[in-house]
């Protein structure tokens, strides 16, 4: 047996690795500096261009536009959600004819620009004035807001149907089989077992769809709807002051960010039974 002949003398810990000013840090600081510069420039534009009269004249209109945008988006989403249920059922149907029709619907509305669809409905309806007068629906198509709601609802119904159908498909087959072995009728299986599980998968895509709808609703301004974008364009056409677009940008960003935060909370709340606590 050998014993250590000498103690290793105590020594101070090695010097901490020197904080290197690496490429990533420099790039990061540079980019943040650019953002700060942009923020300051925007702030300066808003402060230096402060015009009490302009704000008094156009800010109420623009806030009114926010309300119109929210109405537009809310109505379209609710109507679209209702429409998406039969479309999703069709997409999941075993009947090839129903499947083909709903696929064509979904493909058309997801494959063409929302702007083109809006033109098709709004200006296209104008071509059939006589027909719509006859069936007493002209009052509906005469108003740009109604046309925008109709188009957006049809559009979002196609997307929501895909979300719903995809979520239902993602529920494992065993769930259907277990329900069947318990002799549950199809309707109950769907309502009590499949859809609740599907909705949790669908939550995130639904949130994205709402954000896309808020952003997409700006298109309504092109067919003369005075939503947030429409009021902004009106104010810009009167003042040629870029400020109004910055106001709109801030308002849109606020709407989208608030929605995203709320959705995150909602998702965490609804999936709390799935979270592992260990």
């Amino acid at each position: 047996m050998t014993a250590a002949a000498a103690f290793i003398p105590a020594s101070p810990p090695p010097a901490a690795a020197r904080r290197r000013l690496g490429g990533a840090r420099i790039a990061g600081l540079g980019i943040l500096a650019l953002w700060t510069l942009l923020g300051v420039a925007i702030l300066w534009l808003l402060v230096a261009g402060y015009d009490g009269e302009m704000i008094a004249r156009y800010l109420p209109r623009i806030l009114d536009g926010v309300l119109t945008t929210l109405q537009l988006v809310g109505l379209s989403l609710v109507i679209g959600a209702a429409l998406s249920i039969p479309v999703a059922a069709g997409r999941l149907s075993a009947n090839p004819a129903i499947g083909a029709v709903t696929f064509a619907y979904s493909y058309f509305f997801r494959g063409t620009p929302l702007l083109a669809q809006t033109f098709l409905v709004y200006y296209g309806a104008g071509q059939f004035v006589g027909f719509f007068r006859e069936i007493g629906l002209w009052w509906f198509f005469r108003d740009a807001f109604n046309c925008a709601v109709l188009t957006f609802a049809l559009n979002t119904a196609a997307y929501q149907a895909e979300i719903l159908a995809g979520a239902i498909r993602s529920v494992p087959r065993g769930q259907w089989q277990a329900a069947q072995s318990l002799a549950l009728p199809r309707g109950v299986t769907l309502a009590r077992i499949i859809v609740p599980q599907a909705l949790i998968t669908a939550l995130r895509p639904y949130g994205n769809e709402v954000v896309l709808m808020i952003k997409g609703s700006a298109i309504a301004s092109i067919i003369t709807v005075l939503d947030l974008m429409g009021q902004t364009r009106y104010a810009f056409s009167k003042t040629y002051d870029l400020q109004v677009y910055l106001w709109a940008a801030i308002l849109y960003l606020a709407m989208v960010e608030i929605l995203r935060r709320v959705w995150d909370v909602l998702e965490r709340r609804l999936t709390r039974h799935l979270q592992r606590t260990d």
Partner: protein
Amino acid sequence: MNEALSLLSFGPTGWGDEIASGVWVTVSLAASTLPFGLALGFLVALAKTSEDAYLRAGANIYTTLFRGLPELLTLFLIYYGGQIALSAFTQRLFGQPTEVNGFVAGLFALSLVFSSYASEVFLSAFRGIPAGQYEGAQALGLNRIKTMRLVILPQLVRLALPGLSNLWLILLKDTALVSVIGLSDILRNTNVAVGNTKEPFLFFFVACMIYLVLSMVSSIAFGFISGWAERGQETRA
């Protein structure tokens, strides 16, 4: 029916040639946005995977901004903001204002939007590559650039392709917005045709069908590209 066909025919009486030139503008705008959007999106994704918190924050601001703004508003901000800035600049420099090119403004705005979405696609693709790939490359003595080029990128393309093909289809549809700033794309030219013929339903329906055909052709092309990107996958049993 015959009337509709004559309206859509080529030549001085029909609108076929105008619409065809619109298709060319749409396709060339989308195609020239793609490389800028991809390159920028890749860089932003790289920044997001960086270990440096400042770099990550800078990249996240970028995505929050351009994914949160309506595409139409981004386009207007670039177009009118660029117009005002460039006019002031050239006025001072050359004594006369310059016009902002609608195509360039559209290219710029669409690249910003595309790249902010693409960065998220690339980011999740980066996360799909196991750390062992980096370690293996390091063990072989590859430097960082070679690791990226020879080991990571080929796998990244395969993982990112489905997301990118979706973004391409969205980009094709978003190009329709440039018609609002007066660029003669499909929608703008059909709009002009509508103004002259008073046949809105026919022309806008045709425009929609053209967009559908473009996205179908793209889907077929993406089928081939994904076959190519996954060429190494089949042999592995």
